[in-house]
Amino acid sequence: MLKDLGRLFLTLGLFAAQNALAAEPIKVGVPIALSPPGAVSQGTQIKDALEVSAKLINDAGGVLGRPIVLIIEDDQGIPEKSRAAVEKLITLDQVVALVGGHQSSVVLAGIEVAHRYHIPYINTNAWADAIRQRNYQEVFNPSPYNSLPAIGLAAAVKALAAKRVVTLVENTDFGIGLGKGIGDQLAQTTVGIDYKYITLDRTAKDFLPALLPLKAAPPDVVIDVMLPPAAYLLINQLYEQGIAPSSKTWLFETATGDYPDFWKNVNDGGNLLVAFGPYHPQMVLSELGRKVAAAYKAKTGFDPNRLLFQASDSLFVLAEAIKNGKSTAPDAVIKALEALRWTGTRGEITFSEEKNDYRYHQWIDMPYVFYQYTAMNQPLADSRVIKDVGRPFDVSRLIRPK
């Protein structure tokens, strides 16, 4: 209800801006999950972030003197719905590009449509390498990619000298991809590690049946590769069963720890959890990054988080590319994006040309950290950085659960 009113006012606001600038707006499509079973909290953060960024751009006079208008479609995190949404945005709303995409399976369906209509698609938060491996020239990835945490986690496992590692992955391209990826990295870096990943249904409610065997034979490391709300259920059930975090078992987490509603849904389970973070408050931000963070805090009251920066980077690189290419024509935008070398919220963004595995059109050297919560309800800022940007995983900083 309110959500819709909000959306209504937003559009009105943008029309105002449009009239102010008296120029035809640049329509940007935003297919994201705003209702279940999608990762709604992701969708909402991305939505807020994009709206904040669009406002910053428009207040600064827009792009080529034209305002950016976001056209948001709820895809419920369902590939089928996303396909339809992207189709609608392109054919009906005639958007010049798509941003905000998250959840790999959904994006994989979306980029097919974008590719068919040859419309640039900027992937905000879909990690699956499969997206890059399609080698679609329309698709650009300022988002994290599975190989990034995979490499980081393998290093961490090695540093911990862990022998048995179990990854719990959601049944999506993101989850399964990362589950396999970690295995490959472990195989390369370390010898003699007993590794397996268990696929969980992200719509399931009760994971105990899958967890109890772990309880019987506790591994050294459990890695959670799920998205909320499933991730929250999983973390709670892992804790309540005394599986992890525990004196025997570390709990690692890849995509949930820095969500604004993390502590609302997770109690004791979150304490002493070690998480992968494409962003951490202790990271140095660019000037733009600080501006965005401030605007976001002002709008939502939430502290900045990785999705904020990923989302605004997606919109900013698009705006930048249109500026440089002096056109919204697909080919011009794509060319400009490929040539782009520009400092975003967390560092200089470039898209690799190398058509190899996860590399194509990927911002490869994106900064990331590992951090550990050392108390319940601890703000992200106070959490302890275990692996800082460009540094190795520092076991000595970890606190072992009792």
Binding site: P79, E80, T91, L108
Partner: protein, 324 residues
Amino acid sequence: MRRIVDTRGRMRTDFLASLAVLAIVAFLPAVMTSDYWRGVIVVSMYFALLAISWNLLAGYTGQFSLAPATFAMIGGYTTGLLAYHFGATAVLGIPAAIVVGGVIGLLLAAIVMRLRGPYLALTTLSFAEIIRVVIANSIDFTRGDLGLNVPSLFERRLTSYYVMLAVVAGIQAGVYWLLRGPGGLYLRAIRDDEVAAAGRGVDTVRWKTYAFALSAAIGGLAGALYAHFAQFVSPELGLVSQAGLVISMVVIGGLGSLGGPIVGAVLVYVTSELLREVGGYQLIVFAILVILFARFFRDGLWGLLRSGYERRFVTSDVRTVTAE
């Protein structure tokens, strides 16, 4: 001037009227140039096929299956998997989808043959869920929840538009042909009173099996066509809520009438696209509509239109019985 119309006469009128509706749809593209809205109509034709197939089973045979969407999913995956694993084209995929759908329909018929009312509903619901869970979890074979990309059939949207329309018209004609013959009598007899039908010599087992298989085959065809149009299939196609959508279409359009399913499908789907802008109230609206129709206008929109028409042109003795 008023004429007396027997049931067959009424059926003919219904059939012609439904063709008229399709004719209107055929002329739409002249005024409706947006590719998107043409796409919407294509999808509503997909739902029309499902609605027809379910109406044949529930409306005319009284077999209240909750698995109409399941056969669409089966059809979609048949052609999708053939393409994914063996690179087969639609030319093979679509017939395969019809056959596989039909065969699984036979299987379901065998399972539910002795079941009625709530038992039938529960069993078909379980059947639907089993198929969906299996497809959604056999990740290595079906890519599970992630869905499957399916090669497109026609480059031009207008082609898909008219092909889909033609298929609907063809199926509608086929169903009409079946219903106006003795087969139609047997199915409706089974719907009204299976026990009595058997006692009068109707081979209830055989005709129920036909109904299930036919309905399932149509569902398979619909799913396959949709998959090639959308170029994507996922277990979403078989969700219980999808079945709910199909049922709503038929109930609002008119359960057990020839035209109801088509009108219901187009109306419900197009409205839901329009309401989408207003932010997802469509399902609330439809749920309420369905309850109201089931409660007060049991013959649906089509029934209302027809009784209006007959009150005007036809002597009263065959008028629909909603009045009671």
